[in-house]
């Protein structure tokens, strides 16, 4: 008689690239674990089983209660031991935290990255302790962007930047912090800061303004598909600046083809090592990507989500095995003790249940910044611990050094 499976609920926007690939990554980890015998709990072993529900919240038109009803449905009907991936949109996560707290189901979030959820945990740790985040958060992203900007400044002497963000909390928050913590302190001139509503598709005004003011670096922070249009416009309007930041459609290997090879020189962030891109200096990340490609016949394209989602399954398994119980409070206690080395580096949670990110994969989880070469390859240029090359100046730009 087969042991009763432990249910993992994946509740997210399955229609989005991030959500869809995250679900596949979860499934992959579950298959691996089950093939290896399952989870040791209460003296026996039990397999994992994945149940998923589409919250549709990546679609800006979907009201939050609609997404929350989905969240409640999976909690009430499938009785999952833990939830993985979690809402896409920040406000769905922050609002969903109250439901999580009400039903006491641990959540290992891997997409929404707003600082608001951390603030909430901080304000009432006892109530919201069930919420963990394995993916990158805004604060950590700031480190990586600042580091990249510092490198650009050091190499080429550039110090005029134009910031363009999506008008969502995490992106705006990131940009504000980079400005406050880095640009303002290091003598950069911030020419302008524009935030665009999700769905915006014309960026000509900002590009024109940037160009007129002699921009050298454009820092975009976007996670909507339409942000690809920004790249196209940057191209056709021939803005003489290096583009360095985060634009979701540029993350995957297929971007080269999509943009007809016009993105040479662009620097883009991969939020978690292994999502969309690995680093040769951390073989685990490459392994993960290869396994994924073997299993699904397609490379990971989302720069955010899949790797932490994959890792989260193992984190959950370890937490359960650590305490030997499926009780939510016990699992939380187990999760808090997490210390795992995986595709994204070393994973540990801080006081507000956020995985700690840093530059050294031996110590922390890592993000990476890569540059598109003119031959359509992505080369890791940051952090130094993983870098394969230095930043190259795109054709047509002149270094000030």
């Amino acid at each position: 008689r087969a042991a009763e499976p432990i249910v993992i609920g994946v509740a997210t926007s399955l229609g989005s690239l991030e959500g869809g690939e995250s679900l596949k990554a979860v499934q992959m980890a579950v298959d691996e674990i089950n093939a290896a015998g399952g989870v040791k709990v209460g003296g026996g072993t039990r397999p994992f089983k994945v149940e998923s529900i589409d919250l549709r919240d990546s679609d800006p038109g979907v009201p939050v209660p609609e997404a929350l009803l989905g969240l409640e449905k999976i909690i009430l009907e499938k009785k999952p031991t833990a939830l993985l991936v979690g809402p896409f949109r920040s406000e769905a996560l922050t609002a969903g935290m109250d439901i999580i707290a009400k039903y006491k189901v641990p959540l290992l979030g891997t997409i929404a990255m707003s600082p608001a959820s951390e603030a909430k945990i901080k304000a009432d740790p006892q109530k919201y302790k069930y919420v963990f985040r394995t993916c990158l958060n805004a604060v950590h992203l700031v480190q990586f962007l600042s580091g990249t900007m510092a490198a650009i400044n050091k190499q080429f002497g550039f110090n005029k930047v134009y910031i363009m963000t999506q008008d969502v909390a995490w992106a705006r928050g990131t940009a504000d912090l980079v400005k406050k913590l880095y640009f303002d302190k290091s003598g950069w001139e911030v020419l302008g800061m524009e935030s665009y509503p999700t769905g915006a598709s014309d960026f000509s005004s900002a590009l024109m303004k940037a160009r007129a003011q002699g921009v050298q670096v454009i820092m975009p922070v976007f996670d909507m598909p339409q942000s690809g249009t920004l790249v196209k416009q940057w191209n056709t309007m021939k803005v003489p600046a290096i583009m360095a930041g985060f634009i979701s459609p540029l993350a995957g290997s297929e971007a080269w083809k999509i943009f007809d090879g016009t993105i040479g020189g662009v620097l883009n962030t991969t939020f978690e090592l292994g999502s969309a891109m690995g680093a040769s200096k951390l073989p685990a990340s490459i392994d993960f990507m290869n396994k994924y490609q073997r299993k699904y016949g397609k490379e990971i394209q989302a720069g955010h989500g899949p790797a932490p989602s994959y890792e989260s399954v193992y984190i959950l398994k370890e937490a359960i095995e650590r305490t030997g119980s499926l009780d939510p409070d016990a699992i939380v206690a187990g999760l808090e003790k997490t210390d795992r080395r995986g595709a994204m580096g070393r994973i540990r949670y801080d006081g507000v249940h956020q995985a700690v990110y840093g530059f050294d994969p031996a110590e922390m989880s890592v993000s990476l910044v890569s540059q598109w070469t003119d031959s359509g390859k992505r080369v890791v240029v940051f952090p130094d611990s993983l870098a394969e090359n230095t930043i190259q100046l795109p054709a047509g730009l002149k270094s000030l050094k």
Partner: protein, 334 residues
């Protein structure tokens, strides 16, 4: 001899002369059945349903309220494409009262109902003179605009919204509060629309010039109708804020505008009960479809089309007609 199908009203007597109507149990049942049965179902069902389906019932009642409020406006000749405005206004007012001032739900909900309704009425009053689709367009635009204003000015939590509102005491309180209000509003408004006052409102839809020509200020009457409708919508919003403990930009989402209209059209856009019936059908349908995953909305859209094409007059009207009429073949003599 040619034959022709004839339609005859069942029990005209029972419906027109109320004193004699209640002379037999049969007639009483005939009259009260269609009213009491659904009401009883609504009141008893929560006791048998699981927690999740109770939530669905809440959704049903909320959308039914929005649909009724839409229908009430439509009966007054104002086709609103922006029920989200009412809903969102109520939601934000109660959210703000609770979040910033810590006022408990049993005060914020009534306060937001009245205040939200008043605000919506004030916002829409200047455009009451617009007609038809032009009015609809404005109602469609205002909620979209409020979203952007909140986004741009970052007031009331900006894109993140406010969360952590005080919940209502228990699941059953939630269900009974909202279904109670729903049934009350449904039967109350039905009664209202049957009075001479309601007749004036209907007259405005039919021919507002003639209403003016009867010495009645249509602007004032439209304002009243608007207030009633927006109050109902605002209640729904205020209530939902406390159920989901959250309020944010998405309360102005298009769903809250379109779904009530879809409900009204499927159920029968001529009657309040039809609108409610539509919500009772569509919301659980949409929930039941969750089971099929990603294709859910696709199927939902198709069902919508099928309903409308199969019964263009609306489900409620169709049922009502069948209930009150019988058909028989008669010969015509030439």
């Amino acid at each position: 001899m040619k034959k022709r199908r004839e339609r005859i009203d069942r029990g005209i007597k029972a419906r027109s002369e109320d004193v004699y109507a209640l002379s037999s149990w049969r007639e009483m049942l005939y009259l009260a059945g269609p009213r009491l049965l659904p009401a009883a179902a609504f009141l008893l069902l929560p006791l048998f349903l699981g927690v999740y389906w109770q939530k669905v019932m809440i959704s049903v009642a909320v959308f039914a309220l929005l649909a009724i409020s839409w229908n009430m406006l439509a009966q007054t000749g104002m086709i609103s494409l922006g029920q989200a405005l009412f809903f969102g206004m109520g939601a934000y007012v109660s959210g703000i009262l609770n979040f910033y001032l810590g006022i408990p739900p049993w005060l914020t909900i009534p306060a937001a109902t009245v205040l939200g309704g008043t605000l919506c009425t004030l916002i829409l009053m200047p455009v009451l003179r617009l007609r038809g689709i032009y009015f609809s367009m404005v109602t469609l635009i205002i909620p979209l605009m409020l979203v952007r204003i909140i986004e741009a000015t970052k007031i009331f939590g900006g894109t993140e919204g406010l969360s952590g509102m005080t919940p209502l005491p228990s699941g059953l309180t939630e269900v009974y509060l909202v279904t109670g209000v729903f049934l009350g509003v449904l039967f109350g408004l039905r009664r209202l629309m049957e009075t001479d006052y309601g007749l004036v409102l209907k007259g405005i839809r039919d021919n507002d010039r003639s209403v003016t020509n009867a010495g009645i200020d249509i602007f004032w009457f439209k304002t009243q109708a608007l207030f009633i409708a927006s109050t109902i919508g605002a209640f729904a919003g205020a209530f939902m804020t406390h159920v989901y403990m959250f309020v944010g930009m998405p309360v102005f989402a298009l769903d809250y505008s379109i779904l009530p209209i879809a409900a009204a059209v499927v159920g029968g856009s001529g009657t309040l009960a039809g609108a409610a019936l539509g919500a009772v059908m569509l919301v659980p349908l949409s929930e039941a479809l969750r089971g099929i995953g990603g294709l859910r909305i696709v199927m939902y859209g198709l069902f919508l089309v099928v309903f409308i094409v199969a019964i263009p007059e609306g489900l409620f009207d169709y049922i009502q007609r069948k209930y009150h009429q019988m058909e028989r073949w008669v010969e015509i003599d030439q």
